[in-house]
Assembly symmetry: C2
Homo-oligomer: 412 residues x 2
């Protein structure tokens, strides 16, 4: 075990592989554009596939295009799995998803180089269409893999604007595999990812042991007031949709101050007619609520509904809300979180328990296997943006953490 | 004087003329589209011009295209003037502007029919480009007429999107007259107009004696925050431009509740990137403040500036505001307002003193002559809209009020 404890990944090779994938279809502003199952995404997938085959791994592809690359163990046991995604948003960064995939590859290459045989096999998973930019829902590959979304429904998904179906794109690109859905079924799952939030960066942290993932409640609220002249309509006779939208945004901020750990965002407001001297007839706004407790999340939703009803009455407008998305919070596996913390202690890195504010494939796999995640810092919390950045030293720490956590789990 | 007191306008003729003008370039949704100095506007101007000439009036056109039609009096004195505009917004109603012009024409036709000679001449003015849709500023014709805006600057105004200049359009349409600017200079000015607000309609009123016109303060406020992920950014680390915009709208409503007669409207809000799960980086919003007291208006502007400074500090964002327009309030002539009230009493109509929330040519003429306005109700206060409507009975009352007010002033 001494030899294994001293084992370290090859930082140069890790960064070189990240660079090579990021160079595919790089945009003028430096952003990565590998939207799911476009030619650019498939170029990235094929490049990594070649590396996986060169590493002597046992590769399979399932009908939704998820790729699994397994390094055998001494026992014929369920593998320990790591993974993430290679697809990006239209103007994505270099690390979101790619770090988990290429970090996993680097772990397997490192084990190859050191000729180490683990008890359980270790499998690297590349899940299809995590971002959900072109085909909805997001996290589609891991949803299907974990049995939470129907394969046929996923295959029938169509790109916005009457483009091809997912099935057609899989066939066109040759990623319509035949491996059985849900296989290999992992004994444990650990995903390495950038935080995509500012907490580690702002607090000087290096590592997060992600123990939970927030539930998400998205709704679109439509307020119908009465359009009127800004100069001729007394304040008492107004039914101002823009004012009501503003009241909702201010109410939500107050709500987060009263309710522990509650996040609330109004990110989109569209007014009609949106003119300087016309009281808005209609406002459409979105509300994004997140909490790690489902009870708290439900309570926040209920408070908002009550507020909307009161506002309808006091401003004599009509307010309709439409649910756009709702996911329950996820509690990751405490034993795996403890293993991650233990690994950090052994490697000599400080680590703190965290919640993930973003969605990840790990939350889907968590339904069928004990799972958790390792976070490394995102500078300023910036993500989905060409300015997404993580210090190379933190990338190396993250990959070494993944190496030793996977080995620990595979040998347990 | 008995004969004159019994005199009434011809309601059928008034409505017929309004209909004929409204039919020009009527849109599918029923709206009027006679944007200043377009072919449609000029078709309306030429139609009315023909009626003015048929009525034997002395017509002159000045270099900005203002039309003046004078019916002589027994004395060689300064005329009493009425007037308004024929141009509309792109989707305007039938009455905004047109009622004042065609109501004035109907008054002169009625005096012709009854062979009545007033002491002073009576002049009907049709001011060019009141709406300011195509050429800025609005109320351009009356601004130039009253010496408050330079003729050459007005002639050089260009239609948005690189279109022709106002001078070119005047020449093309033949409305580049040669009458001296500012002539005839009126002894008094009274304008008949629809309220364009809901007060008369909601209170069951029939007539307004307009004694003042609100000052207008327009500004565009730009808030620069920091764009970030709605799920991964703790509330305490946010610099949310959408939240700040909402705070401003809510603050302004509170301000109107504290400050008597203050109006405040946020009619336009544009967020960037305006996405459901992204904290807004930028918000641009407009603020429309109106008050009949300039001191009060200035105080409201100052309160808003202070609020913006406080908000900048508390939310750690940057806020810039840019003035888009600022006009001082106008106090109309008390003697003319009293004459209007007296006329209503003689004709047996209830009347209430009012403030105009919208801008009108009368406010410009008020700088060079005693002036006031007569309002008739707008159903639901709707204007600049095909649903703009005034009950024909109210149109008739308004025109009779104009008739007897003008005669009273012309014989005084």
């Amino acid at each position: 075990m001494k030899v294994i404890d001293a084992l370290r990944i090859n930082s140069g090779r890790l960064n070189g592989a990240i660079d090579a994938v990021a160079a595919i279809n790089r945009q003028a502003d430096g952003s990565c554009c590998r939207v799911a199952l476009t030619d650019a995404d498939c170029e990235g997938r094929r490049l990594v596939l070649r590396w996986l085959e060169d590493a002597g791994l046992d590769v399979s592809i399932d009908p939704i295009g998820n790729i699994f690359a397994t390094r055998g163990g001494s026992d014929d046991a369920a593998p320990v799995m790591t993974g993430s995604h290679l697809d990006t948003v239209a103007t994505g960064g270099r690390f979101d998803g790619a770090l988990g995939v290429i970090g996993g590859l680097e772990v397997l290459r490192t084990l190859n180089d050191a000729d180490i045989v683990t008890r359980r096999p270790i499998t690297l998973a590349i899940f299809t269409n995590e971002e959900g930019v072109r085909f909805q829902p997001d996290m589609m590959g891991s949803l299907v893999f974990s049995g939470q979304f129907d394969l046929q429904q996923a295959l029938d998904a169509r790109a916005a604007g009457g483009g091809p179906s997912l099935a057609e794109e899989l066939q066109r690109t040759g990623f319509n595999g035949t491996a059985p859905i849900g296989e290999p079924r992992p004994a444990a799952y650990v995903e390495l990812h950038i935080e995509q939030g500012p907490i580690l960066h702002r607090t000087g942290g290096v590592l997060g042991a992600v123990q939970s993932l927030q539930g998400i409640s998205w709704q679109e609220i439509t307020i119908n007031g009465i359009s009127n002249h800004a100069g001729t309509t007394p304040m008492s006779m107004r039914h101002d949709a823009a004012y009501c939208a503003s009241r909702i945004a201010v109410f939500l901020r107050e709500l987060t101050q009263r309710r522990d750990g509650q996040l609330a965002t109004v990110g989109r407001i569209n007014l009609s007619p949106n003119m300087i001297n016309v009281i808005a007839r209609e406002a459409k706004l979105t509300v994004d609520l997140r909490n790690t407790s489902n009870d708290e999340l439900r309570a926040a939703e209920a408070e908002l509904q009550q507020f909307l009803q009161d506002l309808e009455r006091s401003e004599r407008v009509t307010i309709a809300s439409r649910r756009l998305a709702r996911t329950d919070p996820v509690q990751f596996d405490q034993a795996i979180v403890a293993t991650i913390e233990d690994t950090a202690r052994r490697l000599g890195y400080p680590i703190s328990r965290m919640t993930s504010g973003a969605g990840h494939d790990a939350q889907m796999v968590a339904r069928i296997a004990p799972a958790a995640m390792i976070f490394v810092p995102s500078v300023e919390g910036i993500s989905h943006n060409p300015r997404e950045h993580t210090d190379p030293a933190h990338l190396e720490i993250g990959a070494n953490m993944l190496l030793h956590t996977l080995v620990q789990l595979a040998n347990a």
